[in-house]
Amino acid sequence: MFDILRRRDFLRYSSVGLLGTSLSGWLAPLAARAAETGAKTKSCILLWMDGGPSHKDTFDMKPGTKDGGDFKPIKTSAPGIEISEHLPNVAKLMQHAAILRGMSTGEGAHGRAKVYMHTGYKEGIGGLVYPSLGAIVSKELGKTDFPLPNFVTVGNRSYGAGFLGPKHQPLNVADAARGVESLKSAVSESQFANRFGLLEEMEAGFFKQYQAGASVDHRTTYERALRLMQSKEAKAFDLDKEPTANKEKYGSGRFAEGCLLARRLIETGVPFVEVNLGGWDTHQNNFERVKQLSGQIDTPMSALITDLKERGLLDSTLVVWMGEFGRTPKINTRGDKPGRDHYPKAWSTVLFGGGIKGGQAIGKTDVEGATVTERPVNAVDFMATVCKALGVDYKKMNETPIGRPIGIADRGAKPVEQLF
């Protein structure tokens, strides 16, 4: 097989050419590019709270008011800012955070609101499928020759690249503890080498006759997949490689594993990781469930931010905590236990790190948490804000395949300037 491989003249057509000319080590881990930790380019971790977390029971408390709820606010490391008592560890890190309390977005159905908050465009408007934030970051900040995908989602499948095309589709890791699907060969290493050798030869033969661009792309994709299988960087997906002591800081459970995986990927150079935690759709039994969910995020989130800080990555990594909307200021009593319903009119998101000015709460809601009274932020403003924090030009126009220019953020976007 080896002399077959040596004649891989096809490789020069490939944009990657990863196997290079040295045959001896072609299955051995490839020499890694220097991990670009702490680089100037920014990265983003989106902690997606699926279902829509109750703002009044987390980051915009209204204690002592009607329907203010059961929870007590606690002081945080940011003077004058209080958050829920069930987020005690996060409270200690609020000097790095800015709460946007004036979110007001107008989409109150889960599906449509999720699309809106991920893309900054209403679903289906103008007959297009819009790219989600991760795909935008992949396009604007991603590195084309990097062995790992530039957009990774952990947990449930999220939103994709839309008209930006397949290059910016996310790699979905359904379960952080199990890593990337099919990353390991199903047959022995030597048999896999033989198989890939046969494939290389077939590819060369086909290309010689047909000279098809699609064949080059096919080969490039396979080479990138192979490179991922062999790359040192792919170890980032393997949580077993994390020292136990550090792993324990994140706590246990899927979300904890997701946060740890996100840090490992960001550290390796992936510019965008989305970690999903479901269960926030608390129409019933709101208080017990939000307490329990707060407990699920408090340790992992605070560990993530501390870990990023200690590794010198927090200034270049924006951590976004958000869901698709907030929950009604009024408590419903339809079920056995009180709940809160969908509420896009006034709610909160939280940003950490990424070079923003921390320790502040921007925007205000009225005494009930029902109406924004100061610095409203709509979905378009929010998209522009996150882009600006990441160093992405939100006014830039991307073209659809038929040449329609579409802004990264829609017209009229006003980023939240107090952050910068």
Binding site: E123, G165, N194, L199, A214, R219, A225, L228
Partner: protein, 578 residues
Amino acid sequence: MTRIRCLLVLTAALVGVGSMLADDAKPTDPKAIRKARQEARQKAAAEAEAKTKAEADAKAKAEAEAKAKADAEAKKKAETAKSTPATPKLDHQPLTKKIDDEITKRLTAEKVPASPKADDAEFVRRLYLDLTGVIPGAAKAAEFIDSKDANKRAQLIDELLAGPAFGKHQADIWDNLLFQRTTDNRAVKKDPLTEWLEQKFNDGTTWDTLVTEILTSTGNQEENGASTYFLATLSADKMVDSTSKLFMGIKMECAQCHNHPFTGWKQNEYWGMAQFFMKVRVQGNTKNAKNGATPGVTESGQGRQRNLPESAKAVPAKFFKGEEPKVGRAEPMRPVLAKWLTSPDNKYFSRAWANRVWGQMFGSGIINPIDDMHDERVPSHPELLQDLAKQFAASGFDVRFLYRAVCNSETYQRTSKPVAGNEKDATLFSHMNIKAFTPEQLYDSLIAVLGEPGRDARNRPNAAANAKRGPVSAREQFVAFFDPGEGTKSTDYDAGIPQALRMMNNAFTARNSGNVAREITKGTSKEQAIEKLYLAAVARRPTSEEMKKLTAYVAKNTDGYGDILWALLNSSEFTLNH
């Protein structure tokens, strides 16, 4: 069980005694009947073939006559057997000639050489993929390649156009176009539409009738699969976007919120078309199947239209670039629209189909993008496009007519291998453009080689996958995973790293290739075994050079055949329609 059965069938097919996998249908009545009909047709074709052969030996001129005769006989046979598609109203041959003339004219003018005719192996695989959506079985491929019949290409075209897989493939194409998943239609079942389309395409329903039935459908999904189209689309504006794109080949969507920047189309024209859908009402829940009965559609006009965007304008109903029809208050609007839209006088209607079919078959339309034709876009072959549209209308909107005319042309039958001087050409049709498999083609072709995913495969149906819509089939999951998403061109290979990883390392391909290869190659010589693997995966025999290397390879490696099959299934040659 299924996998074992398919394996057996496959093995049988490979040793030449079975029929192709696609025919391995459930013995339900209509299918059995169809099968019987197909066998009858095959028998008739065999007779015609023998006759043609005898005459072909006599003289070259007589051969042409015999061909015409055989064609006439096949037509007659189709008529008497009341075979599903009606006898073509219009002879395709003048149009076939026109295609070649127009393509040659431009190639000559541009001094771009044409590539030669594709060999039989290249042709048979391409034709199966383009007309039936799946690669030919090994036995079918070998039979075709070995046949000495001079008329075999035309015969295979007729056979595939008449077979049930044609309708199945068309249903795949059109349900993807008619039904795009959004959060608003997430509980709407797609199957009723797929089944409806398959049946209509196989019944020989003409395009104008089919579109009319889709556009005017009422009733719930169970009664009328066509009503799925509105349930998937759900609002008047999106119906304008979709119908203008699919049935008129133009994209009006830009004019929804503002006047179109370069076509001069006005926002009022967009909303004038939208009025035709304003009386349509959805019954039942489209977001959650657990609540309520099967959703459906009426055109009562009672109650409010849901889901209209802020840009909606109240203007009178008006045909695009046409008149304002008078419609009574209580009368339904959609039949009025459908009548205008599907009329032979509506130049958009026939042109949209013509350019779409051309784009499907050649990987590039005469105008591109194929569904965004406006005056600013210059067609590569304006006269040809006009003729294709005109003749399609003259055929009575016979859906098979353009496929038959195209497939019989020299232009379609050219190799996709470039020759010196035409390597860069992608729009003059000097050689066939190479198209990447759709996810459906990839899945069905993998199944054709490997059998259905069995218990050991990880991507089998997962009942818990989507509780709101019920269990998702293995095919649906595979298709969703390999879906390249918006805005992809058929000539681009768009799968990413996750897809390549799955193709290489999932048990379905990684382990099955070993098992299946063992079955295929049992009790044969090395050369026969390798040949079978090649025929099964890429519908050709290996070259002598390949044979030499691979026989040496299997002599040295215990699982050598499995390795070869794995490599074949992961190759460009497999996953590209060339």
